[in-house]
């Protein structure tokens, strides 16, 4: 378990002064607390002797207040030092975690689901904080407090003390056993909980289908069944809890009973003063909490260790894609060349790209056509190194992309991905994403090219409209157009549109393409589309099939190859259009 805590060592070292101060405060608290029953004992013995002066009692009471003051101040201080440190460490680790995530490559995020990474940034860091904060306190405090109290009790009357503490270890054992029992049941509860919310989630997402097919009752009965099972499982946890805490009180009550029996005998035999029995009563109560927390401390430290190793996994993950040492700085120009590019994803049997070569001089436009899964997206991703190409296969601005500074390489691109992901920020901030300092004039220009202005200016909040989670308040077409404006903002050397107009209606698509190509004159563009009518704007068209270049050439050349896929597509699409006009002609 200690091995895992090595990850936390640099952080702990940074805060060692605070931890030392916190530990010192804990010692003051423990010491003063152990003193307290002694003072009560003195008061009781004074009173029971029958002969005491007012001043003597007052003195004892003032000592009590003094000790209480020391306890209060030290308690505040240890919280300040230790909880403060654990919170600061948590924040620092979260920063480090986030920072690392930003550098990790696409492959990592495919292998690790968002939910899992989130769990590390939230639950796991929380567990680490618990372990480094409360875990440290209960461990340290538990050990010292227990030791001090036991010493005080045994010093008074070893026989009585021994008898009275017998039930206490049972509390710790109970907690440890309880942890396992609850853990298993709780796991079941969580499973059923996510099933329950899964059903609710799905029914509400598909509510149109549910209503259209009048299936409300069927889904309600699914939900009802999951609901029953969840409630049942929750109760089985509740049952354990219901037994657990009363049992602890019972055991602690048992120590009181033993003390009265054994201690009473000692008092009757003049072996103990009445004050001592009262003090012991207080000491026993002080032991209950360390016994409970001993069980929790073990769980807390174990959980903290497990969580630390999960956090460390992320922190120590090396970005698969990074700038090479001595990478060339400065943005490359817009020429693109692929030389025999082959790429196979890990775990895939078949290469995603195989021997793809092409040359795209700066200022020209490339069109890409191909079925779903033909390797189009992989090709696009290899250019800005979202997936890593082999050395000597991808060249941008005449240099191997692997030799360029990663940030500079990527800044050369304006990418409109297929899913047009937007952040939940204002529309304006999304457009300005790459260039926060984007001038007003340029802003106007790019939103007008993306035909975004007329839509957004009709929104009540205009450009300040907040895009809902994953762009929920915008239509698919509007999202795509925001993504286009975002990519245009930096006036990139190479603009990439990955089927980025699919949700825009035909009329608008045409207008956008026209404006876009005018704006981009002299710069490089790459268009992926299913529509031959879009691809005809390209200087060079590449048809991909199962990762290979099946055809390449100009629109006209490809059309001329009447047996080819491109010509067939063109014919099919033309035929549909042509059939219409033909039919009209016949009528």
């Amino acid at each position: 378990m200690l091995r895992e805590y090595r990850t936390a060592l640099p952080y702990l070292r940074e805060h060692r002064g605070r931890y030392a101060a916190g530990a010192l405060c804990l010692l003051v608290v423990d010491g003063s607390q152990v003193l307290m029953p002694q003072l009560v004992k003195r008061a009781v013995d004074l009173v029971s002797s029958g002969a005491f002066s007012r001043r003597e009692v007052l003195e004892v009471c003032l000592w009590m207040l003094l000790a209480a003051l020391a306890i209060a101040v030290s308690r505040f201080l240890w919280r300040y030092f230790i909880h403060g440190s654990s919170r600061r460490i948590e924040a620092a680790m979260r920063d480090a975690l986030f920072s690392r995530l930003m550098d990790l490559s696409a492959g990592y995020f495919q292998a690790n689901k968002t939910g899992d990474l989130m769990a590390r940034a939230t639950n796991d860091l929380g567990n680490v904080r618990q372990a480094l904060g409360m875990g440290f306190v209960t461990l340290f405090d538990g050990v010292f407090m227990t030791a001090a109290v036991l010493v005080a009790m045994f010093a008074q009357n070893p026989r009585v003390a021994l008898l009275a503490v017998i039930p206490l270890p049972a509390i710790t054992l109970l907690i440890l056993g309880f942890g396992g029992m609850v853990g298993r049941r709780f796991h079941k509860v969580q499973e059923l909980y996510s099933r329950l919310s899964g059903i609710a989630q799905e029914t509400m997402s598909g509510i149109r289908v549910v209503k259209s097919f009048v299936k409300e009752e069927r889904f309600a009965s699914d939900f009802s069944e999951a609901n029953d099972r969840y409630a049942e499982a929750s109760l089985s946890v509740a049952k354990v809890f219901a037994f657990f805490f009363p049992l602890i009180s019972f055991l602690s009550g048992l120590t009181t009973a033993i003390l009265i029996l054994a201690g009473g005998r000692a008092v009757l035999g003049n072996a103990m003063s009445p004050g001592e029995i009262v003090a012991m009563l207080a000491y026993l109560e002080m032991l209950i909490w360390p016994m409970i927390s001993a069980g929790f401390t073990v769980t807390m430290l174990q959980r903290g260790a497990a969580s630390l190793s999960r956090v460390a996994e992320v922190l120590s993950a090396e970005p698969a894609i990074a700038s090479a040492p001595g990478a060339i700085r400065g943005r490359p120009s817009g020429s693109v060349e692929l030389r025999e590019l082959s790429l196979t994803y890990g775990g895939a049997g078949r290469p995603a790209l195989e021997g793809v070569s092409l040359r795209l001089p700066e200022g020209s436009t490339l069109g890409v056509l191909g079925r779903v899964g033909s390797g189009k997206s992989t090709l696009l991703k290899a250019l800005p190194r979202l997936v890593e190409p082999p050395p000597g296969t991808v060249f941008v601005g005449g240099r191997d992309v692997l030799s360029l500074d990663l940030g500079d390489l990527r800044r050369a691109f304006g990418f409109v991905p297929q899913d047009s992901f937007l952040f939940s920020d204002t529309v304006a901030a999304n457009v300005r994403f790459a260039v926060p300092e984007l001038g007003e004039e340029r802003f106007r220009r790019v939103v007008s090219i993306a035909a975004l202005d007329r839509d957004v200016e009709l929104f009540p909040a205009g450009w300040e409209t907040v895009v809902g989670e994953r762009g929920m308040t915008l239509s698919g077409g509007q999202k795509q157009r925001v993504a286009i404006a975002r990519a245009l903002a930096a006036d990139p050397a190479i603009l990439v549109l990955d089927d980025a107009l699919s949700a825009v209606d035909a009329e608008t698509e045409k207008a956008i393409l026209a404006a876009l190509l005018r704006e981009r004159a002299g710069r490089t563009n790459i268009l992926v589309s299913h529509r031959v009518s879009t691809l005809r704007n390209a200087d060079l068209v590449v048809v991909l099939d199962e990762g290979r270049v099946a055809q390449s050439g100009s629109h006209a050349e490809l059309l001329a190859d009447s047996g080819g896929y491109y010509a067939e597509m063109a014919r099919l699409q033309e035929l549909e259009a042509g059939y219409g006009s033909g039919a009209a002609g016949r009528a």
Binding site: A43, S48, M102, A106, S234, F421, F433
Partner: protein, 698 residues
């Protein structure tokens, strides 16, 4: 969209209406609640009994003391007569003395009839005849004055005895302890049983109520109109049914149950204190005001700190989650460094909020502990004076010290409970807001569905707006004859999709009439109408489950009909190729089948339910030409022999249509067959060239 981002911040701390409403869910469980309360009372009484028993043992057995009342006091005080008497003086137990009326005791003292020093009176017969000799010898050794079975010693004389002799002399006290120990154990066992019952029953009631509430929410939400549901993000509805209900559960288990327990213990402690000694109870009461002040100050501080903490936590978490989901965009635009800076600023705020919360508790808890000690010290000081004045017994003082500790232990976490109470109130408010949403399509149809339905559809001057004032349909009139296939075309936003929503009454039109087979649809039973007329939406929604589940949607559709339907739309071909066939599981979002295959499943689903009328909303998303052909074949199977309205996005569809309606600005602008409309060179002609990739620019 107004309530899409509805703020979930609840500003009110406590709302009695919400509380009453939450509590009203207890009604069906009245007897369990009663039992819980009884268990609670028992547990509390048992817990309070323990210090009282300890007090008795201290007073009666551990430190019993007597005062001599000289002869001649009979006229001044009423003695019971069975007090031990030695040398003419009656010995009155300290506790009995403390209970004497003030005036009587004052008289005794002023007359000098009351002994100054507390002494010990031993009962030499208590150990039985065989122990009598040993007891007498011990009394002898201590120098006690004896008379009959009684021996009187000073406290100093008693302390001077060795262990054996002291025990022999105090046989009565040993017996007293031995008698009371089982009572103590029984009290502890009773507390154990009653506490278990109390906690378990409150969880049971809580869980039952949660179950009821979730079911009510689910049924309520799923029967709301789409007009309402489309304004609610799915995540929010799910949260209402799950985590919001969970906060109310916390209210039942942590607040209602534990809080009642704490309150019962605190009230019980106060009551016992008063019963034991009102003077010392007054001392305790005098030290309480600062506790109340500290609690109420920390309550508001804790609430504010907690809110800030939650707010920043959710901001930080959603920032992380969003940046992870959009990591490709971040990296493509090389915004890693900027994101880091932005995140660190957020994280710093969260740290400040976290530390703020820590300070509140770091200050509050030590203060309460200090005040507890202050109370104890005050009790000890005042108690010592009262004991000196023979007004209070030592046992009472010990009981007070213990009871004060009991009283203070719930105070430390009272602000945490208060926070839970608040989040339960907030949860309750949100849950009830959903339950109070009364937007549902009225199902008041009295007329029977025509059987068989011929499938004639008529829109007559229908006006409809999703949002008030923004009319989507303005005076829309058209008719579809039984068996006819009508295509509807128009620019985006012309109101095409809305037509399907209105015929199936997913929304109700504001004005105008919609009739099916000559009957206004509002007069037909909703379920019957929806079964007879089925929409095929643009976006196919597949549930997680098997292909079979997704076609059948329940047991009403037989397996055979499912297979026939799948075959008719040619979905059987690809299903046969998938491993597992109809039993194949569709993954989340059904990414394991293609767009076209999803469409075919959706067709099969509709066909399996055999509606008389199909309203098809063709997908606009560009799909490759092969997929398009596949879908086309499926479509033919679906529409064969049925009345259909197709919101067309594909050329082949309009070609097949019996009639085309051109929708513009919420009205039918043109109507006719494809060729006729083209010849007219109007709206359709224009639209056709644009939308269906017709020849070149003008």
């Amino acid at each position: 969209m107004a309530d899409y981002f509805e703020s979930d911040v609840v500003t009110k701390d406590y709302d009695p209406r919400i509380m009453r409403r939450i509590l009203s869910y207890l009604k069906p469980y009245k007897s369990s609640v009663l039992l819980t309360l009884i268990a609670l009372a028992l547990a509390t009484a048992g817990e309070l009994l323990v210090p009282v028993l300890v007090r008795r043992i201290v007073d009666e057995a551990l430190v019993p003391s007597w005062y001599a009342v000289e002869p001649g006091a009979e006229g001044l005080v009423r003695l019971s007569g069975d007090e031990p008497r030695v040398g003419g003086a009656a010995y009155v137990a300290a506790r009995a003395l403390a209970e004497l009326p003030r005036s009587e005791r004052a008289r005794l003292e002023s007359e000098g009839l009351l002994g100054e020093e507390p002494c010990y009176v031993a009962d030499l017969d208590a150990g039985g005849p065989d122990r009598r000799a040993a007891a007498a010898a011990a009394a002898q050794a201590a120098g006690a004055r004896r008379e009959g079975r009684w021996a009187v010693l000073s406290q100093a004389e008693l302390r001077g005895l060795g262990p054996e002799q002291a025990r022999a002399l105090r046989a009565r006290d040993s017996a007293y302890i031995a008698r009371n120990a089982p009572i103590l154990l029984a009290a502890l066992a009773a507390v154990l049983a009653a506490s278990f019952l109390h906690i378990f029953l409150s969880s049971l009631i809580g869980q039952r109520i949660m179950k009821d509430m979730r079911m009510e929410l689910f049924r309520h939400a799923s029967t709301r109109s789409l007009a309402y549901l489309s304004r609610q993000p799915v995540g929010r509805l799910v949260t209402r049914m799950t985590s919001d209900v969970e906060t109310i559960n916390q209210f039942f288990t942590d607040v209602l149950s534990a809080f009642l327990k704490d309150a019962a213990v605190m009230a019980g402690v106060l009551a016992v204190l008063v019963a034991l000694d009102w003077r010392l109870a007054l001392v305790v009461a005098l030290t309480l005001p600062p506790v109340l002040v500290a609690t109420s100050v920390s309550r508001t501080r804790a609430r504010d700190a907690f809110r800030r903490q939650r707010q920043w936590l959710s901001r930080v978490n959603s920032y992380i989650s969003e940046r992870i989901s959009g990591i490709a965009v971040v990296q493509l635009f090389a915004r890693e460094e900027a994101s880091r800076r932005e995140f660190e600023a957020h994280d710093r705020e969260l740290l400040r909020a976290n530390l703020g919360e820590m300070y509140v508790f770091a200050v509050f808890r030590p203060i309460v502990d200090f005040l507890a000690t202050l109370t104890t010290a005050a009790v000890v000081y005042a108690g010592a004076q009262l004991i000196g004045a023979r007004l209070v017994s030592l046992g009472t003082l010990v009981a007070f010290v213990n009871l004060v500790r009991m009283f203070y232990s719930p105070v430390t976490d009272i602000s945490e409970k208060y926070t839970i109470l608040q989040s339960a109130m907030a949860g309750g408010e949100r849950v009830f807001r959903l339950l109070d949403a009364d937007e549902a399509i009225p199902d008041e149809g009295r007329r029977a569905m025509p059987s068989p339905l011929r499938g004639k559809i008529e829109f007559d001057r229908v006006r409809f707006a999703y949002k008030e004032g923004e009319w989507i349909l303005k005076d829309l009139s058209f008719a579809v004859e039984p068996g006819e296939m009508v295509a509807i075309v128009g620019y985006t936003g012309a109101g095409k999709t809305t037509i399907a929503n209105l015929i199936t009454r997913l929304w109700d039109a504001q004005e105008g009439r919609i009739e099916v087979d000559g009957i206004p649809i509002a007069e037909l039973p909703l379920a019957g109408l929806r079964r007879a007329i089925q929409p095929v939406p643009q976006d196919v929604f597949l549930f997680s489950g098997t292909i079979e589940d997704n076609i059948r949607l329940g047991p009403e559709v037989s397996e055979e009909r499912m297979r026939l339907a799948a075959a008719a739309v040619h979905a059987d071909e690809f299903i046969g190729r998938i491993e597992g066939g109809y039993r194949a599981l569709l993954s989340e979002g059904a990414t394991n089948i293609s767009q076209g295959q999803r469409q075919l499943l959706s067709f099969a689903r509709v066909l399996a339910h055999d509606p008389a009328v199909v309203i098809l909303d063709e997908a606009t998303a560009s799909i490759d030409t092969e997929t398009e052909r596949m879908v086309q074949r499926g479509l033919e199977g679906l529409l064969a022999g049925r009345t259909s309205v197709v919101i067309a996005h594909r050329l082949s569809t309009i070609r097949h249509a019996d009639r085309i309606l051109v929708l513009s600005q919420g009205r039918v602008a043109e109507e006719g067959r494809h060729e006729e409309l083209l010849e007219r060179r109007g709206l359709y002609w224009n639209l056709y060239r644009l939308q269906f990739g017709g020849k070149t620019e003008e």
